[in-house]
């Protein structure tokens, strides 16, 4: 059995990035993700890489844009307020079809908000990461091990599809320490980058990395083409299901909320309520089909999240509001209690089967 290492979630992401071949990290300190930058500042110089502390989040994401355009695996990480600033760069990355990995260890908002864990950037990550028509691939780990595993996958997906892949965690996952098996990262996939700005070296015609298209017909065509790519990505929407086969009540939760929900489901089952968990691992693409399939047999849904109710809209859309959906939420850095989730499951179970 492989030896496990005790690590913070933030550190596991950094370790995985290094294992995935990332040698260029551009950061800016912000709680509660700073350990990630600190880890990179310690490790990357020893590996011949670059840790650069940028003057702002805006500069950091644009440095990622440059490094990615030059063909290397590049990364930046931040927490909620920092992601607002990175929005510009995320839009340009999408418009230029550049791969990148961006981490958001969410804290409570809006504004400066707080520094306690939150999931209030769900809309930002899946809906409005910046101006224009585009998407990120959004991966939502719920253990430190998964922060490690999904980070490696994020680099692979980003290069494969030439998109930004985001690791959407929260302050609790970033800070918690758990044992991690770091031996899994066998063959990390790499992809040729014939489009990269490495200088022509006299061997090819010039490459241009650009997001400006003044002819509307051309821009529309490019957007349509990009959405064909998103449709392809959409096929790999993924969930981790727990006791869903016979479930009357389906709990939908991601990240740290999924761990609370799992405990609550176990408790509910002891009380004779058939509850099960669907944990979206990909938030974009959202696992619509898995939701639809569950709606065929379940009588009600409970969505647990640390926001005023954001993912709940995706659940309702996916099942076309065909079942009652109860929101069990906290906001501002508060975490839902086991009891609150159990009580929401009980309420859902009292629903008449339609």
């Amino acid at each position: 059995m492989a030896e496990k290492v005790l690590m913070k979630g933030n550190e596991a992401i950094a370790e995985a990035a290094i294992m995935a071949g990332c040698r260029h990290f551009f950061g800016y300190p912000i709680t509660p993700q700073t350990e990630l930058a600190a880890f990179m500042s310690k490790r990357l110089p020893k590996l011949g890489g670059t840790y650069l502390q940028a003057e702002s989040e805006v500069a950091a994401i644009n440095m990622v844009y440059g490094a990615s355009a030059a063909g290397v695996r590049a990364m930046t990480s931040s927490s909620s307020p920092g992601l607002s600033l990175k929005s510009e760069g995320l839009s340009y990355l999408a418009g230029s079809d550049l791969p990148a990995v961006v981490v958001n260890i969410q804290r409570g908002g809006p504004g400066l908000g707080g520094i306690r864990p939150s999931q209030a950037d769900y809309f930002h990550a899946t809906r409005s990461t910046g101006h224009g028509d585009f998407h990120l691939i959004v991966l939502a780990p719920n253990t430190v091990q998964e922060m490690f595993d999904l980070t490696i996958e994020a680099f692979e997906l980003a290069d494969k599809y030439r998109v930004t892949a985001m690791i959407l965690g929260d302050g609790m996952l970033g800070q918690v320490m758990e044992p991690v098996d770091i031996s899994r990262a066998g063959n990390v996939k790499t992809f040729p980058k014939e489009w990269a700005l490495t200088g022509t070296q006299g061997k090819r015609s010039k490459n241009i990395v650009n997001s400006l298209y003044l002819e509307a017909e051309e821009l529309e065509m490019l957007n349509l083409k990009r959405y064909e790519k998103y449709a392809e990505v959409g096929k790999s929407a993924r969930t981790d299901n727990y006791l869903t086969e016979d479930a009357d009540v389906i709990v939908v939760a991601y990240g740290i909320c999924a761990r609370i929900a799992k405990n609550a489901i176990n408790e509910a089952r002891k009380n004779g309520v058939k509850a099960g968990l669907i944990r979206p691992v990909t938030l974009w693409p959202f696992p619509k089909e898995q939701m639809k399939a569950a709606a065929a047999t379940a009588k009600a849904f409970v969505v647990v999240e640390m926001s005023m109710g954001q993912m709940v809209e995706d659940v309702e859309l996916s099942i076309r509001c065909s079942r009652p959906v109860i929101l069990c939420n906290r906001t501002g850095g508060m975490v839902p209690t086991n009891e609150a989730v159990i009580s929401a499951i009980m309420e859902a179970d009292r629903t008449e089967r339609s």
Binding site: A54, A59, N62, G66, A67, A70, E88, T198, G199, S211
Partner: protein, 248 residues
């Protein structure tokens, strides 16, 4: 028959979108001649700004990126850090560099980032139709300073070379002009020196080029050159503001 004058290899064979009389064309040519003379075309990467020079990526015959408004020095930093053997330059206007991209510019200089910036100062926002720029001079009339820039209301212009000369990380900062044959030749010398410093690994270099905007200044091209000489050069004196590379 001997060819005595032709398009530099580092310029593409493209009709530019610049207005008649605009000095961007001269400055593009100078950069391209320098790239040719230094033989760096095959490992040169340029970064285009947002503004009049946004299409620079179509005009230079080398790998090119187009950056978000003001972010060219950050994008250039990423490119240079990824492949330090590449020669990386940005080509930016005054709105891009001295307003929205001030932080990126100052900090690229502070880090001593081994890149070259060609900074074109024409004291106005050209692409958007002639609004007040961070380099618009007191009293200068623009679309958004219709009564002349009033320092009490709109503050003072930023003198980029003077500012960056105070930054420890800056290796070379010089202000030149392209209003006459003599000044064009001098501008080329400065741009070449900036690239040579980068090749030698000497760090951050910037050449500020005073430029005209006939269209938005509302002047004939020749009048615009005269206006530059009469109004801009006294406010933005030409010369070397810093040259750490010379003593190294």
């Amino acid at each position: 028959m001997t060819i005595v004058y032709e398009r530099p290899k580092a310029l593409t064979d493209t009709v530019t979108h610049y207005c008649p009389g605009c000095t961007h064309g001269i400055i593009h040519r100078l950069v391209a001649e320098v790239i040719d003379e230094l033989g760096i075309e095959d490992h040169c990467v340029g970064v285009a700004p947002v503004g009049c020079a946004v299409f620079a990526y179509n005009y230079f015959e080398c790998d090119m990126a187009q950056a978000a408004h003001g972010r060219a020095p950050a994008v250039a930093t990423g490119i240079k850090r990824a492949n330090p053997a590449n020669i990386v330059f940005t080509y930016q206007g005054d709105g891009d560099l001295a307003a929205i991209g001030t932080a990126e510019t100052v900090h690229a200089a502070a880090r001593g980032e081994n890149i070259t910036i060609v900074f074109v100062n024409n004291a106005i926002y050209g692409m958007t139709g002639g609004q007040m720029a961070p380099t618009t001079m007191p009293g200068q009339i623009t679309q958004t300073s219709p009564y002349g820039r009033d320092p009490k209301l709109a503050g003072y212009p930023i003198k980029v070379c003077e500012m960056l000369a105070k930054v420890d990380g800056t290796t070379y900062a010089e202000r030149v002009s392209v209003d006459s044959v003599k000044s064009v030749k001098n501008a080329k010398r400065a741009i070449k020196k900036a690239f040579e410093y980068q090749i030698a690994g000497k760090g951050f270099s910037i050449v500020e080029v005073l430029s005209t905007c006939s269209t938005n200044w509302g002047l004939e091209p020749v009048e615009a050159l005269e206006w530059l000489r009469k109004n801009m050069i006294p406010y933005y004196p030409l010369g070397v503001y810093k040259d750490k590379g010379a003593s190294e």
